[in-house]
Structures are given as structure tokens and as C-alpha cells.
């Protein structure tokens, strides 16, 4: 018997339909074999697709959200994938959906931060639902490395310190080159030490004679 899982947020609704995988001994309300899914947006065309499309949507959107939490905005989903997401040049986020139908142009949906959060929440609800048994390979959320975090600092701010240091070094070296080279001092004769004190007499201070 077909099972329908529905997840609602203010701006979108995700509906997944499927059947339990009887060979894996799944419960009757489980979805182990996906027959279709739809994503309805308020005021936007409805999206639908197969398992690969749902997998691509989750593989692209969830890591994008993970990076956003760390303040890093970068594109996810290269050409062979049917879904791509990245920052929109005019603000918000651009979700690009490539159709598998030949000759159909890709559909671009612009989302604001609230709509993206809604989308992330419905995908989270789906993947954490105990009835959803479909194996979808999602990368685990990992801490970002320093190199990945560099992007959130503006380029000018990143290069300011090394460029400033190099300029200061060049300035000091230039000033150093302008100073005259010190001339060597004239050679001095070695000091003559007089030792005229008698044995037992108090020691006299050392005297030196100059020519």
C-alpha cells in the first residue's frame, strides 16, 4: 500500500510517496521505495521528480546551509547534478533546477533567507523521519578548515596585513640604504700596562699611556 509523507512549512510543502520494501522487512507505513515526490512553493511552480532529483536536492541544499551557518557562501552542485544552489547576485539564494527533458531550459528560483530555512527544515524533517527508509548518501556535517573560512573575510582585509608588512619592510630597507656607510676608526696602538707596584704595596690603578 502506498504511503505519503508530508512535511509543511510556511512557504513550502514537501510530499513524498512510496512503498515499503517488503524484502527488507520494513513496516507497512515505511517508505523504502520512492515512487515520486513534489515540492510545492507558495506562488511558484511545483517541483517534482524521481529519487535522483530528491537525492541531488538534499546533497546540495543541506551542505549549503551548513556552510552558511559558518558564514561561508559558495556554490554547490556542478553541471551533471540536476540541482545547483548558490548566493544570488541581488541578495538571497539562487536554486537552479536542470530538467532531464532535452531542450528544456533550467528553472531558477530565487529564495530569501526565510524560504531557504523553510526548505532546509522540510528536508531535515524528511531525513530524520523514522518512516523514511530510503538510502540517501549525505555527507556528514564537518567543521570547516581555516582555508575554507578565509572566504568570509573580505579580500582587502585578508591582504592588508601581509601587504602592510611588506611595505614597512621595504620602507625600512630603503631608509637604511640612504644612510651613509660609517667610516672605519683609525687604528689604535695597544694599551701599555704599567706594573710598578712593589710586592705587598696596595695595588695602583691601571694606567695607560697614549702616544
Amino acid at each position: 500500500m502506498k504511503t505519503t509523507l508530508r512535511f509543511d512549512q510556511i512557504s513550502c510543502r514537501l510530499q513524498v510517496e512510496g512503498l515499503p520494501d517488503a524484502s527488507a522487512g520494513q513496516a507497512s507505513d515505511a517508505v523504502g521505495i520512492l515512487t515520486g515526490w513534489t515540492l510545492q512553493w507558495a506562488g511558484r511552480p511545483e517541483l517534482e521528480g524521481r529519487k535522483e532529483h530528491l537525492e541531488a536536492l538534499m546533497t546540495v541544499v543541506l551542505p549549503y546551509a551548513r556552510h552558511l551557518i559558518s558564514g561561508v557562501t559558495r556554490r554547490f552542485g556542478e553541471e551533471p547534478l540536476p540541482v545547483e544552489i548558490g548566493p544570488h547576485p541581488e541578495g538571497g539564494h539562487a536554486l537552479l533546477l536542470r530538467s532531464s527533458q532535452p531542450g528544456t531550459p533550467p528553472l531558477q528560483v530565487r529564495l530569501d533567507d526565510a524560504e531557504l530555512a523553510d526548505l532546509v527544515r522540510v528536508l531535515d524533517q524528511l531525513r530524520t523521519d523514522a518512516r523514511f527508509k530510503l538510502p540517501i548518501a549525505l555527507p556528514a556535517a564537518q567543521p570547516l578548515r581555516g582555508r575554507e573560512l578565509e572566504q568570509r573575510t573580505p579580500l582587502i582585509q585578508r591582504v592588508a596585513a601581509p601587504v602592510g608588512g611588506a611595505l614597512a619592510l621595504a620602507l625600512v630597507a630603503g631608509v637604511g640604504l640612504l644612510l651613509p656607510v660609517p667610516r672605519p676608526l683609525p687604528q689604535q696602538e695597544p694599551a701599555v700596562r704599567s706594573t710598578t707596584a712593589a710586592p705587598g704595596a696596595p695595588a695602583k690603578p691601571e694606567a695607560t699611556t697614549r702616544p
Binding site: I10, L62, A65, R66, L68, I69, S70, G71, G92, D112, D113, A114, E115, L116, A117, D118, V120, R121, L123, D124, Q125, R127, T128, F132, L134, P135, I136, A137, L138, A140, A141, Q142, P143, L144, R145, G146, L149, E150, R152, T153
Partner: protein, 186 residues
């Protein structure tokens, strides 16, 4: 396979795992402070949520919860010790559950669908409440506190905190938030 996420009903008891860095502690406490700025009864709600999630052994009362939060180096009265992994995990789960509860408010702040003046009023209210809490509890001589309190230059940072809470809300956000708090120092 879908990512395995522990049930919130199973409290973390292990002290194994990475400890939060200084920056991670700062962010975790700032996010909890944002929750308090959004919810006037946030302090009480946090303690109630801690009990609901089964963390009474870690935070038996509000003083213990407050002491753990004082590991934030930006606080006026800061503690030099660090959070144990089980304590930081519990605070992360409390934060995600609180963000889930406050999601309609977070969403309203981030949405562009509503009239700009209504959104601006919401931001002004939030900023005033956050500034009040920060002046009360944070060290104003620290640059990070000063920047966040600045009405103009601190806006992007405050928006980032709200967006973080929205994307970390609920059970599914725990892994994302934990990973981001363990980020390398940039």
C-alpha cells in the same frame, strides 16, 4: 543512508569528543543570548527545556546553567575553565530546541515578503533587547562586544546570528551547529 541523528530524548553523558574552542564558546553563548533577546522569558524557558531534554544531572538549577555559560571569554565575569564535551553537547541541543520553538519569530526577521517597515520594527525591537542584555552581561571593552552593539556595523553580524539559529533549528540542525562551533580558527 540518511544521517544518523541521536534522539533528543537521549541525553549525552560521554565526555569523549572535541572541546569547543574559545571562539566556539563565544558563539554558543551569544546564540543563547540571542534566544533570550527574542524570548522575554528565555532564561526560564532554557531551564525548562533542559529538564525536558533530560539534562537535569548536568544543569540541576539555573546557577549551574549560568556558570557553564560564563565560560564565554566575552562575559563580564568569565570563568577560565572550558566546557566538558557532554556539557557543550547539552547546550547545543537546548539551543536547537529553543530555536525550533522560536522559529516563527526567526523566520519573520529573515523574510522579505512582509512590508519593510514592519520588518524594521522587529529588528529595532530585537536590537534594543539584545543591546540591553549585552550591556548587562558582556565586557564592553572587548572589540567583539563593541562591534555587535554598533547599530550600523553590527547589523550584518546580528543577522548572521539569526540566520544561524533559523538553519540550526530543530533536531536536524544539531549536527550543523555542532560542526560550525568546531570550525578552525580563521
Amino acid at each position: 543512508m540518511p544521517q544518523a541523528t541521536d534522539s533528543p530524548s537521549s541525553p549525552p553523558t560521554s565526555n569523549q569528543g572535541p572541546r569547543l574552542s574559545r571562539r566556539g564558546l563565544e558563539r554558543l553563548d551569544l546564540l543563547l543570548l540571542v534566544v533570550e533577546a527574542l524570548d522575554l522569558n528565555g532564561g526560564e524557558a532554557m531551564l525548562w527545556m533542559s529538564e525536558q531534554l533530560g539534562f537535569t544531572a548536568l544543569f540541576p538549577n539555573r546557577v549551574e546553567l549560568w556558570k557553564r555559560r560564563c565560560t564565554n571569554p566575552l562575559r563580564r565575569t568569565t570563568r577560565r575553565d572550558s566546557l566538558a564535551p557532554a556539557e557543550s553537547e547539552a547546550l547545543i541541543r537546548i539551543l536547537c530546541a529553543m530555536a525550533d520553538r522560536l522559529y516563527p519569530l526567526l523566520r519573520a526577521l529573515l523574510s522579505t515578503a512582509e512590508p519593510p517597515e514592519v520588518t524594521q520594527q522587529r529588528w529595532d525591537l530585537f536590537q534594543a533587547r539584545l543591546a540591553e542584555l549585552m550591556r548587562e552581561r558582556m565586557n564592553p571593552r572587548r572589540g567583539a562586544v563593541h562591534n555587535l552593539l554598533d547599530p550600523e556595523s553590527g547589523f550584518a553580524q546580528r543577522r548572521q546570528l539569526i540566520q544561524t539559529l533559523a538553519l540550526a533549528s530543530g533536531e536536524g540542525g544539531v549536527d550543523r551547529l555542532r560542526a560550525s562551533l568546531l570550525d578552525a580558527a580563521a
